[in-house]
């Protein structure tokens, strides 16, 4: 594992350890009150999910056109993390919506497109798990489509009339809310890099194990 891994681990733990205090000290929002505090984990998770999906798409494109095993490992790791972060987004969002909108779920453009994107990355993982030989290339193509959905998910609140807050919320945040938000975003970005590093390492060892099994058979 890379030398910077322990440093990143300590940094991530530090950022997450202080995050609850930053969130508690952030002011309440005028119309939503306490439930708005879900935003400090929900939005950074969503942004990190977009980054993970893009990473998966780019790595998969590199693997498709160059057959580099390293790119495939990064793509596989990023897909798994996209699904993990997507799960957090799709659970924390409805918990906020229940109080803010009065319903758990609305079939509006942002929520539906996020769910579809999450299902595409689930399809990637299912293909890798049950697709048999050659499924790496097939799933890489699926990942490219999944990554292509990211701009649609992001712009959906501006393109279509939805009940979801617009992309204007983040740039217009009050400084007292912006600082804890950026803190949590930094924490999730560090967590993403950490998880990618750990997951890629696992794939490297699996490849080495496969090579050893082949050597043993010979």
């Amino acid at each position: 594992m890379h030398k910077s891994f322990p440093v990143l681990l300590v940094l991530t733990i530090g950022l997450f350890a202080y995050a609850p205090f930053a969130i508690i000290n952030a002011p309440y929002e005028a119309t939503m009150g306490l439930v708005q505090k879900i935003f400090y984990f929900h939005v950074p998770t969503a942004i990190t999910m977009f980054v993970a999906a893009f990473t998966c798409g780019i790595a998969s494109a590199i693997f498709l056109f160059t057959s580099r095993r390293g790119a495939d490992r990064v793509g596989f790791a990023a897909a798994e993390i996209t699904v993990l972060l997507g799960l957090i987004v799709l659970v924390s969002g409805p918990l906020w919506a229940r109080k803010a909108w009065g319903v758990w779920w609305q079939w509006d453009a942002r929520l539906t497109s996020t769910l579809v994107m999450w299902l595409v990355f689930q399809a990637y993982l299912l293909l890798r798990r049950f697709g048999g030989p050659g499924s790496e290339k097939l799933s890489a193509a699926v990942a490219m489509f999944g990554a292509a959905l990211v701009p649609f998910v992001y712009w959906s609140v501006n393109l279509w009339r939805t009940v979801h807050p617009t992309t204007n919320v983040i740039p217009t945040l009050a400084p007292s809310m912006r600082t804890p938000f950026l803190w949590c975003l930094a924490a999730f970005m560090c967590l993403f890099v950490l998880l990618i590093a750990a997951r890629v390492e696992l794939e490297k060892r699996r490849t080495r194990l496969d090579d050893l099994y082949l050597a043993l058979e010979d």
């Binding site: 929002e29 659970v91 924390s92 809310m177 050893l212």
Partner: protein, 98 residues
Amino acid sequence: MTSFRFVRALLIAILLVGAPVAAMAQAPQPQPPQQEGFVPVDQLPGQEALPAAPLVAAAYGVAWAAVLIYLFSIWKRLGTVERELTEVTRRLESGGRR
């Protein structure tokens, strides 16, 4: 016969009055306006705290649980692969077969 006509007239009247009322009741509720920004306040209204607290706790709980379970799964998988690597390396060094 007269009573039959009366009942029929009554039914028609109920239908004529009731149908628009029912339709109005089923009409889609106007959606809340789309939010353009968040406005901070100093004090949380009293009635806000109780119902929102379990939702906030659940959201943060799920996020932490998901991340920790995933970290645990990576750690378990790394341990399994590492054990297999040690075993296969040992077999290779001793020149054995599976």
